[in-house]
């Protein structure tokens, strides 16, 4: 039953549902899609935003890099709880180290970078980098995390509704699979909306469904709470290792005993975990085996799947162990499928640890969520996911514009613009061109704000939001068509300037990054150039557009001209 009380068939009601749920959350979903799509390359964005790292050219072997890393860690990380070494690879030009001190929990940040060629430490500027865009895409900003997740989660749910109702509404999408009729106003926008939706339909379904799964503990905690006490217990029990051999069972029992002892200490101390661990007995020192030769033999076993990281627990003590992790997975159906090997770091004996067993539901969860996060996938699949995300972003943008275009005739008949229509127009501009401008401004701020400034990363984020707000004000103040044109021009100029900005503010110039094969840096600049060209193209397309040929006896529409944008 509709709010306005009219009768309707199922397809019409779906159409109504599709139009209004999508409009209501379209702008938010556009922002989520755009920042989420960029997050497929959040490493690369962070690298670009730390231009100090660009000097590190990855030409040395992993053995050489490991030697550098161990040299540094043995000097400065002697008493650490654990070391994590990430090699320079196709996504990262420098060696990245994490040192966890006793009593420290798992945390982000605190990375130490070493030049892959010389092994010297590189002090990179403080920035949230791509992590900000990544976080924004599922928990927004400036509000409690839970709220942001709820809001994005509801939007995701409605996106799922929009996809299903969209398939029913535009039932001709499969019949019209390849159909695009350009320069026909509303028809063209509908075609573009349908084409971007249907070509990447498997992607849209995957990304939305897995988005919901990733937040399932928030939306449907009841089963987990009833059966497992709380959500954390659920995931812990789900991924509980199960021993397959007597040796594994022995190790597992040993580990459990140790954990229980640690917990006991923590309880008796009555304080936080950190204090408890400081009271832990100091382990006797012991020399470790030659990790370089060990890594060499591990790498030989893995062939063309390079070691991505090495983790050393309790380094240089009698309890030291070392774990090697590969880069890529062989299947997306198993959480444990990224090859990894663990050794006793003193004796060099392999440690055969028990692993969680797989099940059908876990396999499905792993498949869609790993695709969502592009975890363990190679660069080909990562690019395909990124480009599919671009199609999704375009689908939402074209849908939003379609809403306006569809109502232009009505508005003209009316003779004035209703307030609601104007709001949609303004918000469309703010989202569709304003957000890319804000992203570009974020990258600009990264390079313009002095690198040594303390607390500079909140400043970068402030620039992002202030510029976005300015785009909103600009769109509200200016008339519809000039607002589109000016923001498109600004976006084009900003993105085309980014490679130059990179060059003049200490980054690796585009030709040099290509020459050195640093594609994680070069592709950022190249994508910015392509985006700039797309904005220029849209600008000229809109500039030339003078409204549709008049069919009825109406005046030509001067104001309705964003249709070819």
């Amino acid at each position: 039953m509709r709010v306005d009380g009219k009768n309707e068939g199922p397809r019409q009601s779906m159409s109504w549902l599709h139009t209004w749920t999508s409009l209501l959350l379209g702008w938010l979903l556009y922002a989520v899609f755009l920042t989420g799509t960029l997050s497929f390359f959040q490493n690369e964005i962070t690298v670009w935003m730390k231009p100090e790292l660009h000097q590190s050219v990855n030409t040395t072997s992993q053995q050489q890099q490991l030697t550098y890393a161990l040299q540094y860690l043995n000097q400065k990380g002697q008493s650490a709880e654990s070391w994590n070494i990430r090699f320079a690879n196709e996504r990262q030009p420098a060696i990245m180290l994490n040192v966890r001190q006793p009593g420290e929990g798992r945390r982000r940040g605190g990375e130490i970078y070493l030049d892959a060629q010389t092994g010297h430490e590189i002090k990179a500027r403080e920035t949230r980098g791509g992590g900000f865009l990544y976080r924004f895409h599922f928990e927004l900003y400036g509000m409690p995390r839970i709220w942001g997740r709820w809001i994005v989660g509801i939007a995701t749910l409605l996106m799922f509704v929009a996809i299903i109702s969209g398939i029913i509404t535009h039932k001709k999408i499969f019949k019209d699979f390849f159909t695009f009729r350009p320069a026909k106003g509303q028809r063209s926008w509908l075609d573009a909306h349908n084409a971007t939706a249907v070509f990447a339909l498997p992607f849209h379904i995957m990304i939305t469904f897995s988005g919901l799964l990733l937040l399932m503990h928030l939306f449907m905690p009841w089963a987990m709470n009833t059966h497992y006490g709380n959500v954390r217990n659920f995931y812990q029990i789900l991924n509980e290792p199960i021993a397959q051999t007597p040796e594994q069972a022995r190790l597992l029992a040993e580990q459990k005993q140790k954990e229980a002892a640690e917990e006991g200490r923590g309880n008796r101390g009555g304080g936080r975990r950190g204090e408890a661990e400081q009271a832990a007995p100091v382990l006797a020192a012991a020399p470790m085996v030659n990790l370089t030769t060990l890594s060499q033999s591990v790498q030989q076993g893995w062939g063309d799947n390079p070691i991505s990281s090495i983790r050393v627990n309790k380094p240089n003590t009698i309890e030291a162990d070392v774990q090697f992790n590969a880069t890529r997975t062989t299947t997306l159906l198993d959480r444990e499928s990224v090859p990894s090997l663990k050794f006793n770091a003193v004796t060099g004996q392999p440690i055969d640890e028990a692993k969680p067993v797989n099940s059908a539901s876990k396999a499905i969860y792993t498949l869609v969520t790993w695709l969502h996060m592009a975890r363990g996938v190679d660069s080909v699949l990562r690019w395909l996911l990124f480009l599919s995300g671009v199609l999704g972003t375009m689908m939402i943008a074209s849908g939003l514009i379609l809403w306006v275009v569809k109502r232009i005739l009505d508005v003209q008949k009316l003779g004035y613009k209703p307030f609601g229509h104007r709001v949609v127009e303004v918000l469309n501009i703010t989202a569709i061109t304003g957000l890319p401008i804000a992203c570009a401004a974020y990258f600009f701020a990264n390079r313009v704000i002095p690198a040594q400034l303390a607390e500079r990363s909140p400043l970068e984020i402030n620039v992002f939001f202030i510029v976005w707000l300015l785009c909103l004000i600009h769109a509200a103040v200016r008339a519809h068509r000039p607002a589109w044109l000016e923001q498109l021009a600004l976006a084009a100029a900003m993105f085309l300037f980014i490679p130059i900005l990179n060059l003049v503010t200490g980054g690796q110039a585009l030709w040099m990054s290509i020459y050195h094969g640093q594609w994680m840096i070069a592709s950022f600049d190249l994508v910015c150039i392509i985006l700039g060209l797309i904005f220029i193209y849209s600008y000229y397309k809109l500039k030339r557009y003078q409204g549709l040929p008049v069919k009825q006896k109406k005046q030509p529409k001067a104001q309705s001209a964003q249709e070819q944008a």
């Binding site: 070509f199 695709l371 080909v380 395909l384 480009l387």
Partner: protein, 111 residues
């Protein structure tokens, strides 16, 4: 490289499917196409798609292979869609180029 080959195959298969759709036949061909030929185009299109899916699964495993396959189909469809919009008469030439590119990549990957 394998992805580009898959993309070439997707272009050929989807073009064939488009040739089988009465809607596009007027744009692509100068003379009318018989129902029998339309059916042939459809069968060829679907079989090539299926074969490429099997090849992708064989080479990279079901999960990764099919994910890549779907991704390549997406952008193959995009290419065919744009081609049908702006240069429908050049579809055959484009297919010859795609097939040649596929052959070239195949030789390169076999060396």
């Amino acid at each position: 490289m394998a992805a580009w080959m898959l993309w070439c195959v997707a272009v050929v298969a989807l073009s064939s499917l488009a040739c089988g759709m009465s809607k596009h036949q007027r744009d692509i061909f100068t003379s009318p196409i018989s129902a029998q030929n339309s059916r042939c185009f459809e069968i060829v299109g679907w079989s090539v798609l299926l074969l490429s899916a099997v090849a992708a699964i064989y080479l990279k495993g079901a999960s990764i292979g099919l994910s890549e396959w779907l991704g390549c189909i997406t952008f193959g469809a995009l290419a065919v869609g744009l081609l049908l919009t702006y240069h429908p008469k050049k579809l055959l030439q484009a297919n010859v180029i795609a097939a040649a590119l596929f052959g070239l990549l195949l030789i390169l990957s076999l060396i």
